[in-house]
Symmetry: C2
DNA sequence: TGGCAATTTGGCTATTTTGCCAAATTGTAT
DNA sequence: ATACAATTTGGCAAAATAGCCAAATTGCCA
């Protein structure tokens, strides 16, 4: 976009973090990690995709600062860095609920 | 992803909404709309891109249920549907701050 | 040391997203 | 009716993303 560099920066940064969350598989992973840490191979089973795919999803979130890792032997455990991420999801679900309500209202005006 | 259909659904929906927000220009627009409604041509000037580009950004957010429109003459005013969207941004900035703190800590261990 | 399991990285193709231009649409006002 | 401003839509090329396979890496343990 054309905005001035300095102004631009913060929106680019925010977008990078949001993009790291805005993917169905990654949201599923976050939902799991909300309760406890998991290693890559456990998450791989839960997701049902290739290990390399899951590993890449995890590193995208780690690079964005959403996840941290803890290494034990050759097993890497991923965990959420800050609870605010969980709070996003609640906010998003609020949008989903509102949209549903609006759709229902709209339907009533049609009837 | 391979998850079962029913389970999948909610993550797909959440992702769609998050994707609608996860773009620098769209985050900039949301920041403006936080305070008051704007029409397409005003936002176009602020953003500094083609009108059609801005219009498309707005309709992506509208389709996701984040924005609503109000038409006056042939001018379309866009507004945020629910304040929770503004609260996302605060959550995201918390991640940014945490990341900065961690980077600073890391730097100290190196020194 | 050699092998094995867990994880990451490289490389590739398929798909999606962006953003511009041009053209269509909508609603006024002359 | 015609012109005009605001907005949306279609179409296209460039860029970014996703997901798989194969190969490399890491760290045990026999």
């Amino acid at each position: 976009m054309r905005l001035r560099q300095g102004i631009n920066q913060i929106y680019e940064t925010r977008a990078r973090i949001l993009k790291a969350i805005a993917h169905p598989t990654r949201l599923f992973i976050l939902d799991k990690l909300k309760n406890k840490e998991y290693c890559v191979c456990e998450l791989t089973k839960l997701v049902g995709a290739d290990v390399s795919t899951v590993s890449k999803h995890l590193s995208i979130m780690k690079n964005a600062g959403i996840l941290t890792t803890r290494k034990e032997k050759n097993i890497v455990y991923y965990d959420i860095t800050c609870d605010c991420v969980t709070r996003y999801i609640e906010c998003i679900d609020e949008v989903i609920r509102n949209t549903a309500v609006n759709h229902r209202k709209l339907l009533k005006t049609i009837k």
